[in-house]
């Protein structure tokens, strides 16, 4: 870390490589598809590289990186909405498959596509700040104080948003009609 902050390219590369998968995971859960996640993760890494000299170490590096990943994902979602509105005006483009339609991991992979579709669809039903709170808690295993820092919210608000987000997710992911 210190070497990367000091300007070492090799240390910076190692730092970025070491955190890419977790950053990507946050972006993937936040954006709900591979294409936007790849873009958001790339933007997050660029922001991390640029902001590293200003990282003051008051939080864990990973917590700081997650914050950037969440913000990059929200930015990507906003961009996607704007781009989609314009590109879909061309009927030839609208008729073509999107990269996000490409098949995901197979049944033997850590996450089957059917399962992923369900959890992605459910997560996208949550408002972004609720989604971020749940993702940071259940995917990144941050504690409430860290999530409060990332989202710039009081810990009590984080706690209630996680509870409400989990409740909604459990309802959406459970078999139809079950009460959760």
């Amino acid at each position: 870390m210190a070497r990367a902050q000091g300007g070492s390219r090799s240390a910076l590369e190692a730092l970025l490589r070491g955190h890419y998968d977790r950053v990507h995971a946050v972006c993937r859960r936040m954006t709900g598809n591979d294409s936007d996640a790849a873009d958001a993760a790339q933007e997050a890494l660029i922001a991390i590289a640029r902001g590293l000299p200003r990282f003051d170490g008051r939080s864990r590096f990973s917590t700081w990186a997650y914050r950037i990943a969440v913000n990059a994902s929200i930015d990507e979602l906003r961009r996607r909405d704007r781009t989609r509105a314009s590109s879909l005006d061309d009927p030839r483009i609208a008729a073509l498959p999107r990269a996000m339609d490409l098949p995901g991991p197979g049944p033997g992979d850590p996450e089957s596509s059917a399962e992923r579709l369900d959890v992605d669809a459910a997560l996208l039903r949550l408002p972004p700040t609720f989604r971020a709170a749940v993702v940071l808690r259940d995917l990144c295993d941050l504690d409430y104080d860290e999530i409060a820092l990332v989202l710039a919210l009081p810990p009590g608000t984080v706690r209630s948003r996680i509870a409400r987000g989990r409740s909604t997710l459990a309802r959406l992911l459970s078999p139809a009609g079950s009460e959760t």
């Binding site: 990507h24 790849a38 590109s87 706690r159 459990a170």
Partner: protein
């Protein structure tokens, strides 16, 4: 505490986090309804916690390269990643600006890519369909006396087919225009001619799909930054079925694969092997 004598959302959430009081934990153990809710919540948490896989290691390479290209070099080390793909254009995402350092890397990579990445044959048997090889930018270790560099193979190394250089215009830093095409057959002929080597042998059906060796070959490769251009072996612009597009060539498992991506949106217009 509860709604109707059961744990409310806040207490159930605390139970999941191991922060519930003993009374709430005891209630959850004894109450069928709360136990069922807790089980459903745990299952939802398990699904969220399952890390989505990075579809292609190339995504990681591209993102790291982009990040390294976005910060000024300290001067004591060369940027360790570079791309050989010269065809990406600054179009949709001007926000990914080429920094001076990255531009230097790009120019070097373009010169290098215009010569040959022939350090290995095309018969790799990598089991990873998504692994790649960079044609490196000039570096202290890789620069030849003529100022060109052949790329080091990645450990998996399938993107290894010799390429006889890109069309005119690459070395000058401009994206090459391959022409206008309708259908895969003339495109494959043009690619074979441009890249050298054997004439077309096979074509694969175009979209949709993207499994097997095609996995991960998507619009991620359109990233129009100096770092984002990396990792494809060759590239050019073209018109395909009347649409402005870009073609990216890779070598995987001993085959050359070309993916045609529309400039607009994230559409795969065609995939061919040759």
């Amino acid at each position: 505490m509860t709604s109707g004598g059961h744990l409310d959302d806040g207490r159930l959430s605390a139970l999941l986090d191991g922060e519930a009081g003993s009374a709430d934990a005891a209630h959850a153990a004894a109450c069928a309804r709360c136990a069922a809710r807790a089980a459903a919540w745990r299952e939802a948490r398990r699904l969220v916690a399952t890390s989505p896989a990075v579809l292609s290691p190339w995504q990681r390479d591209i993102a790291v390269a982009a990040a390294l290209g976005a910060v000024p070099a300290a001067g004591d080390e060369q940027v360790p990643l570079a791309g050989a793909h010269p065809g990406a254009r600054r179009r949709q995402r001007a926000r990914r600006l080429v920094t001076p350092a990255a531009a230097a890397v790009l120019i070097g990579a373009l010169v290098a890519g215009a010569v040959v990445a022939a350090s290995h044959g095309g018969g790799s048997s990598s089991k990873s369909p998504a692994a790649g090889v960079h044609v490196a930018a000039p570096s202290a270790a890789g620069r030849s006396p003529s100022g060109t560099a052949a790329g080091p193979a990645s450990p998996n190394g399938p993107n290894a087919g010799p390429v006889a250089g890109g069309p005119a215009g690459h070395a000058a830093g401009r994206p090459a225009a391959l022409g206008s095409f309708s259908g895969t057959a003339p495109l494959v002929r043009a690619l074979s001619s441009a890249l050298g080597g054997a004439a077309a042998t096979t074509t694969t059906p175009a979209v949709p799909g993207g499994s097997g060796p095609w996995a991960g070959l998507s619009c991620a490769y359109k990233a129009p930054s100096a770092a984002g251009v990396g990792l494809a072996l060759w590239g050019a612009t073209l018109d395909y079925d009347g649409m402005p597009a870009q073609v990216f060539v890779f070598t995987r498992d001993g085959r050359r694969l070309a993916v045609v991506l529309a400039d607009a949106g994230c559409a795969v217009l065609a995939r061919v092997s040759f």
